[in-house]
């Protein structure tokens, strides 16, 4: 039986008014800092790194909807990122460079593909779900690689600049930063709300005890499919943002190692909350960038990180933070 249930169950809430503050303050602080970055004229490269982190964070949060909330561990999530990216790129190159059109089209295509893939995938669970999502993701990769008439094949696609109502936009780095920050904030709030809603609670119930939910009369498969499709939509959305930022997409964006990287971001950050994947995304990206400049052995570092985190703190970094908070505040149930 998966121990995800055991991990996510214990959420310690400190008493009284402190609760609201403690839950929302770090988030608000975080967003304020991010918003201040372009104002403070931070180095362009640092801005680009933050943009990449935010895009990866949206991708990781969307996977969290599947993984942390519903208990579905997918090894194919980056496929929808790639589908969104390619759809937006092809739209900008061949149909319309309007960013709204590209965005809507890409998310729509992501959703349309997620429905059959999801419908088939949710019929299995556990390791098999991991494998079937992997299989579908690899099919997307092969398609991206082989259908060069559509995707540019192994060489990838350079994307024409986007426009809004005929006017070119997203030309300057700080402009891209502002839009991505907005998208990130909206996604964060939306996904958090979703998880807190009754829909999200049903998903949590499915995660905890699928049989009981089914016995209670919920259409478990419908809920799982809905979660899958919503997650895919956000994933495609992050793909569009990526293309707007880097103006390039290639089959590597769909390879299974990208899906694995997102999975790792969620697990290392902590699958129980929305802030966990964000932390995970930031940590992995910064670590990867920094260590690959100083050593060739980035893989060893990453591998050791996996081993350490999964052994010491399966809850991820958020779990560590929670345990520290328990110590400070005591909390309602002090078992970490």
């Amino acid at each position: 039986m998966s121990t995800i249930e055991h991990r996510l169950g214990s959420h310690v809430i400190p008493p009284g008014r402190l609760r609201i503050m403690s839950q929302n303050l770090p988030t608000l602080l975080g967003f304020s800092v991010l918003a201040a970055v372009p104002i403070l004229s931070v180095n362009a490269f640092t801005q680009s790194l933050l943009i990449e982190i935010m895009i990866s964070a949206i991708l990781a949060m969307s996977l969290n909807l599947l993984l942390g909330q519903t208990g579905l561990v997918s090894l194919g999530h980056a496929a929808f990122f790639a589908i969104g990216a390619y759809a937006a790129a092809i739209c900008a190159n061949s149909f319309s460079s309007d960013v709204i059109v590209a965005l809507a089209g890409a998310v729509l295509i992501g959703v349309l593909l997620a429905i059959p893939i999801g419908w088939l995938s949710i019929r299995v669970s556990g390791f098999y779900f991991l494998m079937i999502t992997f299989a579908f993701a690899q099919m997307v990769y092969v398609a991206a690689f082989r259908w060069s008439w559509l995707t540019g094949g192994s060489d990838g696609l350079t994307v024409q600049p986007f426009t809004l109502l005929g006017v070119p936009i997203l030309q300057a780095r700080s402009e891209v930063y502002a839009y991505v920050l907005l998208a990130f904030a909206l996604s964060f709030v939306a996904l958090q709300r979703l998880c807190a809603s009754s829909f999200g609670q049903v998903l949590a119930g499915i995660r905890e005890n699928t049989k009981r939910m089914r016995a209670l009369g919920y259409n478990v498969r419908a809920y799982k499919l809905a979660a899958f499709v919503i997650a895919a939509a956000f994933s495609a959305f992050s793909g569009v943002l990526y293309v707007a930022f880097s103006s390039f997409v290639s089959p590597e964006n769909a390879y299974w190692t990208q899906s694995a990287a997102v999975l790792v971001m969620v697990l290392i950050g902590g699958a129980g909350t929305m802030i966990g994947p964000v932390i995970g995304a930031a940590l992995i990206l910064i670590l990867q960038h920094w260590s690959s400049s100083h050593t060739e052995h980035w893989n060893t570092i990453l591998g050791l990180l996996f081993i350490t985190v999964i052994w010491v703190s399966p809850d991820g970094i958020v779990g560590v933070g929670r345990r520290i908070r328990n110590r400070i505040w005591g909390g309602e149930d002090a078992r970490a």
């Binding site: 039986m1 561990v73 299995v124 390791f127 494998m131 079937i132 092969v142 697990l267 893989n299 052994w311």
Partner: protein
């Protein structure tokens, strides 16, 4: 045309057996221990590299096979003792993450020890011969791989089903406490099984290396191929892995000739199709 079909059948058989030998170790580990070991490809790679180094130094293929396989077994045992044994009761996801982390570290170590270039495992003397079939020559080595595959299937099956150790292992999977209560050291049993699985993977590495070559990244490629075979065959059964390997080998070999554009796509589609097929009429938690 007849000899062409015959050659392709031989190709398919040889390729299928290579796939089976790859999958054997993982199938055993998962079947007996219920442990998802994603470091499987690393054992393959290390076995291949060690075997290659030994063959280069001693010019003895047999010695290379033995040392390569032994190296894999030893590393497997060491890994199990140090890290993996704490994870038998953890969820599959945790096992996946842990073993994948180990795979990354091993892959890097191999790169440090043996370099980044593509290496070949030299096969000389009788093994490098070709037999004439029809008007084409077929490498003798491929036939040997085919024989090795069948031989290993029988050998491993006999060990698992017909020896005392095998029955002990099977019993301890079903009821660990009881077996422990009967006085057997269950932990040692598990270590032994895992080491055996790693040994088989490394053996596959030495045997397969003359065909695949040896280079960084091969471990992950092998892992994917193995996972496809295992998933199609159904985790945990030796014979089902055998038939899965044959199915995939035949489809791919003939696919390469007649449907070259679709081959890579078809393999993954097959994987997904098999999984969906198994799920018909069952709730998702119940699928074995």
């Amino acid at each position: 045309m007849v000899s062409f079909i015959l050659i392709q059948l031989l190709n398919a058989m040889a390729y299928s057996m290579l796939l089976f030998v790859l999958a054997l170790g993982l199938s055993l580990t998962f079947g007996l221990l219920r442990f998802v070991n994603l470091a499987h490809g690393s054992f393959f790679l290390v076995g291949g590299y060690v075997g290659a180094s030994v063959i280069l130094a001693t010019h003895s293929f047999v010695l290379g096979v033995l040392t390569g396989a032994a190296a894999g077994g030893l590393i497997g045992i060491a890994l199990e003792l140090a890290v993996l044994r704490h994870f038998y009761r953890r969820s599959e996801l945790d096992q996946v993450i842990l073993s994948f982390g180990c795979a990354l570290v091993f892959g890097d170590l191999a790169k440090i020890l043996w370099g980044k270039d593509v290496r070949t495992l030299p096969v000389s003397g009788m093994l490098a011969e070709s037999v004439s079939i029809g008007d084409i020559q077929f490498p003798l080595y491929r036939l040997l791989i085919a024989l090795a595959g069948i031989g290993l299937l029988i050998l491993v099956w006999m060990v698992v089903e017909r020896t005392r150790i095998g029955s002990l292992v099977r019993a301890s999977v079903d009821d660990r406490t009881m077996v422990g209560g009967l006085g057997f050291d269950v932990r040692l049993l598990y270590t032994g099984v895992f080491g055996f699985g790693a040994l088989l993977a490394a053996l596959a590495g030495v045997i397969g290396a003359p065909v695949t070559g040896l280079y960084p990244g091969l471990d992950l490629e092998i892992l994917i191929t193995t996972l496809v075979v295992i998933v199609v065959g159904g985790l945990g059964s030796l014979f089902r892995a055998f038939w899965a390997a044959i199915l995939i080998g035949v489809c791919e070999t003939f696919g390469k000739t007649f449907l070259p554009q679709m081959v890579s796509f078809l393999t993954f589609a097959l994987m997904a199709a098999v999984l969906v097929w198994r799920s018909i009429g069952r709730f998702e938690e119940e699928i074995e």
